[in-house]
């Protein structure tokens, strides 16, 4: 880096981009973003706004999914059919569509993944339909974000994912390697570790996104091959659904090939491990705060859980041994002189006391 001070231009750019991302998140959360739409989408949205108040929450969520996937479905078809009616020859238009898709994925990769390569609006050259088509590829990433949001209430929407990384890595590494000083030395070290883990998670997530961008390009290639084979076989694709299903099949096949590799296992493992390492550090810091307030910490509760389970396990084991001994005594041939009357008549079956009560509930189906 040209500027080797810690708080240089890169740092300021980082701050700026970080706040832009946060602002972007807020805008989205408030529904202020107005996506550009084709007329079919606009009509669907209009209809949905009119009827959705009558639907229950689960129905609404479900319909939202149907609407969203319907848009992706027709955007895919629109992208392929529009070129054919734009005046060019069919093959030219088709090849241009494939090239545009391929270029969009390549651009997404070359952007350095400072932002999600598939996110709406991040692919400069792409039009609305193209964004929808690429957005389709966001689904695996979207699943990860949703899952992480549910696990990390302190990091809604997986907020670290869009922080730029490569540009400021060196400065950050230097800053984070500076030893803590003074009375709060340990606390400083913890925050440094937290930042290191956050950066590692970012790196892992960006690598994960990069993997998907590469996969997208491979899926386009597969679709190109499939379309060519349909031409060779004189079996044209004749419906929107068939085209959409072909695109899904190509994506799924390319995906299945790539995610079975050791390379993906490494990327996937890094992503999960980095997220867990970050979450663990946060958890330790929360524990320290709780401890300072004389409140029970997660660590303490877990120790108690372990001890309690160990005790219960031993208790159950002893109870079984006791039952076994009782059974053995009960099964011994009674000798008139030595057998105590109380045990001689005990049934051979296991003592019912060992079991908890059988429910008396009626039919529950």
């Amino acid at each position: 880096m040209a500027n080797d001070t810690l708080f240089n231009d890169d740092w300021l750019k980082l701050q700026q981009r970080y706040w832009e991302n946060l602002t972007d998140m807020s805008r989205k959360a408030m529904g202020l973003e107005a996506p550009r739409q084709n007329p079919w989408e606009a009509a669907m949205d209009q209809w949905w706004k009119a009827v959705s108040p009558a639907a229950s929450d689960p129905s609404k969520q479900f319909m939202d999914r149907l609407m969203e996937q319907g848009k992706a479905y027709f955007a895919t078809v629109e992208r392929f059919t529009r070129g054919l009616t734009d005046g060019g020859t069919g093959w030219d238009a088709l090849n241009k569509t494939f090239d545009d898709m391929q270029r969009a994925f390549t651009e997404a990769m070359s952007n350095g993944f400072g932002t999600n390569p598939f996110a709406m609006g991040s692919t400069g050259a792409a039009d609305d339909a193209m964004r929808r088509v690429l957005g389709f590829w966001e689904m695996p990433l979207d699943n990860w974000q949703r899952m992480m949001s549910s696990l990390s209430p302190m990091m809604p929407g997986d907020m670290l994912r869009n922080m730029p990384h490569d540009q400021v890595k060196e400065s950050f590494d230097r800053m984070l390697s500076a030893p803590g000083l003074g009375y709060t030395r340990e606390e400083q070290a913890q925050y440094q570790d937290l930042m290191r883990r956050a950066m590692d998670y970012q790196r892992a997530y960006q690598e994960y996104m990069g993997f998907f961008a590469k996969l997208g390009g491979k899926s386009v290639e597969r679709l190109r091959e499939l379309v060519q084979s349909r031409a060779d076989e004189d079996k044209p694709i004749e419906s929107a659904r068939e085209l959409y299903d072909s695109w899904v099949a190509c994506c799924e096949t390319a995906y299945a090939d790539e995610v079975s590799t050791p390379e993906y296992a490494r990327i996937h493992g890094h992503l999960v491990n980095a997220q867990m390492a970050l979450k663990k550090r946060m958890s330790v810091m929360v524990d320290e705060t709780l401890g300072a307030m004389n409140m029970p910490t997660a660590s303490e509760v877990r120790t108690l859980q372990d001890r309690m389970q160990e005790t219960r396990r031993e208790n159950k084991h002893l109870r079984r041994e006791l039952d076994s001994i009782k059974r053995q005594i009960a099964e011994r041939p009674a000798t008139a002189s030595s057998a105590p009357p109380a045990t001689a008549g005990e049934p051979k079956k296991k003592a019912a006391a060992r079991k908890k009560t059988a429910a008396k509930a009626g039919p529950s189906a």
Partner: protein, 355 residues
């Protein structure tokens, strides 16, 4: 020939049709009401912590078998998959063959259950259910049907308690966890399971959902909903779809210590194949399984590849080992129409022949 011949009028028609179905389907979705799960009448007969053991009502017109059948489902997802709707019920099919069916519902573990181990599940909860049923029927041993991870548990249990199992049936049960086509196995090889469990305590169901959806993300989170629109005008099909949707996302958290052991021992270290399986301080030797074994696998299973299940052949000590291949997937083996006709009658007949 040009490969795409979608006429504008036909495209318009498809879009109109999609919109129309969506519009009509809205009514059916609103009217769908609560999604019920589990259709066959049953009684809760035994509890142990969060575990509930159910016994299903037997049809009076069918001759009953003396030896009851205990269904051991996986800890992952919910056991009502085996009885999801009236015409798609493994349980109902088994009752129809005269089996006296019990089923373990493991419940929803919370953080208080984090320290439960495989030993607690196998030698504690499962053994408790078997003892209860044996005592109730005055028998020394019963039949067990293990499903998926529940099948793996059943193998461990039968190896450790061979005197309590009359016949063992396993469905879509992983034995070799490192077959080359096992995506789940590939994905967990580089995961630091200790770190994950130490961090989260219990492993959230959301994480498992994400993992399973990631097996076929474009089909399972995209295409499925586009296809669904075609069903929207049929209230029964809507209800069935929503029932399945509920099951898919109804994922209990996993008790942390059990998850740690299961993933490390089996997915990462392939304990059955390597001969290193242990439950608590007891080694698990599959050769101790000497009862008849019926091993059913699904030929298009993307979760438990057929080779993973078929690895059981020759690993047990049973001289009566049977394999049954089902031409379908991991879920279809319980809920498809073909499974109702082929799988459950086959299980029933196999058990009845050995009663």
């Amino acid at each position: 020939m040009f490969p795409i011949e979608i006429r504008p009028d036909k495209l318009g028609e498809e879009m109109l049709d999609y919109s129309r179905k969506l519009g009509q389907g809205m009514e059916n979705l609103i009217n769908a009401g609560e999604i019920d799960t589990g259709v066959t009448p049953k009684d809760a007969v035994y509890h142990d912590d969060k575990l509930t053991l159910y016994r299903y009502h037997r049809p009076s017109e069918v001759a009953q078998q003396e030896v009851p059948l205990l269904v051991v489902y996986a800890l992952v997802n919910r056991p009502y998959m085996t009885d999801i709707q009236e015409n798609r019920s493994t349980i109902k099919g088994l009752l129809g063959t005269g089996q006296d069916v019990y089923l373990i519902d493991w419940g929803y573990p919370d953080q208080a259950d984090r320290a439960l181990t495989l030993d607690d599940y196998i030698n504690g909860y499962l053994d408790g259910c078997v003892d209860y049923i044996c005592e109730k029927h005055g028998l020394g041993k019963i039949n067990i049907l293990g499903i998926c991870q529940g099948g793996t548990f059943s193998l461990m249990y039968t190896a450790l308690h061979p005197d309590k199992v009359h016949n063992l049936v396993t469905m879509v049960t992983p034995v070799d966890f490192k077959t080359p086509d096992n995506l789940l196995s590939n994905w967990v090889q580089n995961i630091d399971v200790d770190l994950a469990v130490d961090t989260m305590g219990n492993v959230p169901g959301e994480l498992l959902n994400w993992t399973f959806l990631s097996l076929k993300p474009f089909s399972l989170t995209g295409q499925k909903y586009v296809n669904m629109v075609d069903l929207l005008d049929d209230p029964d099909k809507v209800k069935n779809f929503l029932r399945m949707e509920k099951w898919i996302f109804d994922s209990p958290d996993q008790a942390g210590e059990t998850f740690r052991q299961f993933i490390k021992d089996y997915y990462q270290n392939n304990a059955f194949m390597e001969g290193t399986a242990r439950v608590g301080d007891q080694p698990v030797d599959l050769k101790q399984i000497t009862c008849p074994v019926l091993n059913i696998y699904a030929q298009q299973d993307h979760l438990v590849p057929p080779a993973s299940s078929k690895a059981m052949n020759g690993m047990t000590g049973s001289e009566d080992y049977t394999e049954l291949a089902f031409p379908g997937g991991h879920i279809g083996i319980y809920v498809s129409g073909k499974a109702q006709k082929e799988v459950t009658p086959a299980i029933g007949n196999w058990l009845n022949e050995r009663s």
